[in-house]
């Protein structure tokens, strides 16, 4: 089954020292490299900072724009990965192995047609 892992930004991204951040990023790169290589990760991207986001709201056929991300800063999405695994247990184990000091990962099945 295919799932998307929605990766939130963690406090470590704002608070850690330059060196600590670099170390965590190193671990993350390794993680992505490993699971891309074995075909688990189908596609993955890191997103630009939340303050670069624009939210478009559509109401009664008309749209307005808001100069901020959809979600509160604390839960802002920092990246995503689309993974192909046998079942939810495998997807959850993968999410739990994401090497960050703090943060959340939402695991959602993707509709496959």
């Amino acid at each position: 089954m295919k799932y998307v892992l929605l990766l939130t930004r963690g406090a470590w991204q704002e608070e850690g020292s330059e060196q600590e951040r670099a170390q965590v990023f190193g671990g993350i790169v390794e993680w992505f490299t490993k699971y891309r290589a074995d075909g688990t990760i189908v596609e993955a991207n890191q997103l630009r900072e939340p303050d670069t986001a624009t939210t478009v709201v559509v109401e009664q056929g008309r749209s307005t724009m808001i100069d901020r991300p959809l979600l509160e800063a604390k839960e802002a999405i920092g990246g995503y990965a689309i993974v192909e695994v046998p079942d939810l247990d495998a997807a959850l184990a993968l999410a739990a192995s994401f090497p960050v000091p703090d943060g959340k990962v939402e695991v959602r099945p993707i509709v496959e047609r």
């Binding site: 089954m1 799932y3 046998p86 079942d87 939810l88 247990d89 997807a91 959850l92 099945p109």
Partner: protein, 416 residues
């Protein structure tokens, strides 16, 4: 017997009820494994029951009612998947598997284990785990579960439906965890069984018969786990714990439905063979050499059950067990229960000091105040005791407990 014979119809219905209670989990488990679809499996089992209700009054019950229901549900499932387009691409494979399903279902413990682990998957909300387990494994109706947990039936039905949908669409696997994952998953399953037991035994009131059935259901589930995982000591401990409480059941309420404290229970009304069987389970668990909280709790209950009277209780042994329990479960409620034991080994004053240390964390818990009241009374501080009992009364809705507290207040002259 004619089909109009009301006695025959009634006998058939009560037979079906009993068979269904015993077999529903197994039937559903076998079908879910084949179909990968909870709703369809339950629907087919339901249709088989309807068929039985229609036929058995006139034909008389079959020799093996469980096998009859399974065959009937299996045939109905076959009909359905042949008819329905959504099964078309999997039809040949599914049909072969269903036809190969043995009548006696010798894989039964595996199937049920798989089902219970799926229902108690950590990706489901704990409330949903409890509801789904009672629905799919035990075979209770949503109305029965709603009544037992005192929630509106619509709420409960929604909870079950959502959980089933999530299992299907989110890809929660229908399997029991591998031995190496079991340490992580088994506690959650036991916790669900414990919640069912706890709801039956200790909480919120409601119909007494319903509550007793929940205790029986919890015992059945624990026996299922213990039987399917014979090398795991904690399910044996859980089963023993539930069985010991069930053994004391006949003495725990008086004729007016008031809770009788352990100290005052008529021990001749306890179920001695059940106690012996539970003690044997604890010994078997101990022989596996890995202790855990359920085994310790069961051992504590066994010390009470084996004492000829409250005064003859082996308090030093209880204290040792509570110290062990505290080491694995350092919760304030365990500390509170340990303090009660201390009142018997070192006196009420020493116990009261320990209890009062817990006031920050247990101030909202009625048994904290009830325990404190009883210690204060032992120390001759009647006014403070009555105030603590009144505080306990404000914090519990359970009618049996309220009745006990009210009586205690009245007897000690503290009602005013």
């Amino acid at each position: 017997m004619s089909s109009a014979d009301p006695v025959g119809a009634q006998a058939a219905r009560s037979l079906i009820e009993r068979v269904f209670r015993e077999e529903a989990g197994r039937l559903t488990a076998s079908l879910v494994r084949l179909l990968g679809d909870f709703d369809l499996a339950e629907e087919m089992v339901g249709e088989a029951v309807v068929e039985a209700l229609r036929r058995w009054p006139s034909t008389g019950p079959p020799r093996r009612p469980g096998a009859w229901l399974l065959t009937c549900a299996r045939n109905k499932a076959l009909d359905r998947i042949r008819r329905e387009a959504r099964f078309q691409d999997r039809l040949p494979q599914l049909a072969a598997r269903i036809e190969a399903l043995p009548d006696s279902a010798e894989r039964e413990p595996d199937d049920r284990l798989r089902l219970i682990f799926t229902c108690c998957h950590p990706a489901l909300d704990p409330d949903a785990q409890v509801a789904l387990t009672l629905r799919a494994v035990v075979g209770l109706t949503t109305a029965e579960i709603a009544r037992a947990f005192l929630v509106p039936e619509a709420t409960l039905a929604k909870r079950v439906t959502r959980a089933k949908r999530k299992i299907a669409t989110a890809g929660i696997p229908y399997r029991a965890p591998e031995p190496e994952e079991r340490a992580e998953r088994l506690p959650q399953v036991m916790c669900v069984v414990y919640l069912v037991f706890n709801e039956g035994c200790f909480t919120t009131g409601g119909d007494l018969g319903v509550r007793r059935e929940l205790v029986d259901d919890a015992e059945w589930l624990a026996a299922l786990l213990a039987g399917a995982l014979p090398q795991e000591p904690e399910p044996l401990g859980l089963l023993a714990l539930i069985r010991l409480h069930a053994a004391r059941w006949p003495a725990r309420l008086n004729a007016d439905g008031r809770l009788v404290p352990l100290a005052d229970q008529d021990r001749s009304r306890w179920d001695a063979p059940r106690i012996r069987s539970a003690v044997a389970l604890i010994e078997r668990a101990a022989s596996l050499g890995r202790t855990g909280p359920y085994q310790i709790e069961a051992a504590i209950a066994a010390v009470h059950c084996e004492a000829p009277g409250w005064k003859e209780t082996d308090w030093p042994q209880l204290l040792r067990l509570y110290d062990m329990l505290l080491a694995v479960d350092p919760s304030p409620v365990v500390r509170l229960n340990r303090a009660v034991v201390i009142s018997h080994t070192r006196g009420p004053a020493a116990a009261l000091v320990q209890v009062e240390n817990l006031s920050d964390r247990l101030g909202h818990y009625h048994l904290f105040h009830a325990t404190r009241a009883s210690l204060l009374r032992d120390l001759g501080r009647a006014t403070e005791a009555a105030e603590a009992d009144r505080q306990a009364l404000r914090l519990t809705a359970n009618p049996a407990e309220r009745s006990l507290l009210t009586a205690r207040l009245r007897d000690s002259g503290g009602t005013g």
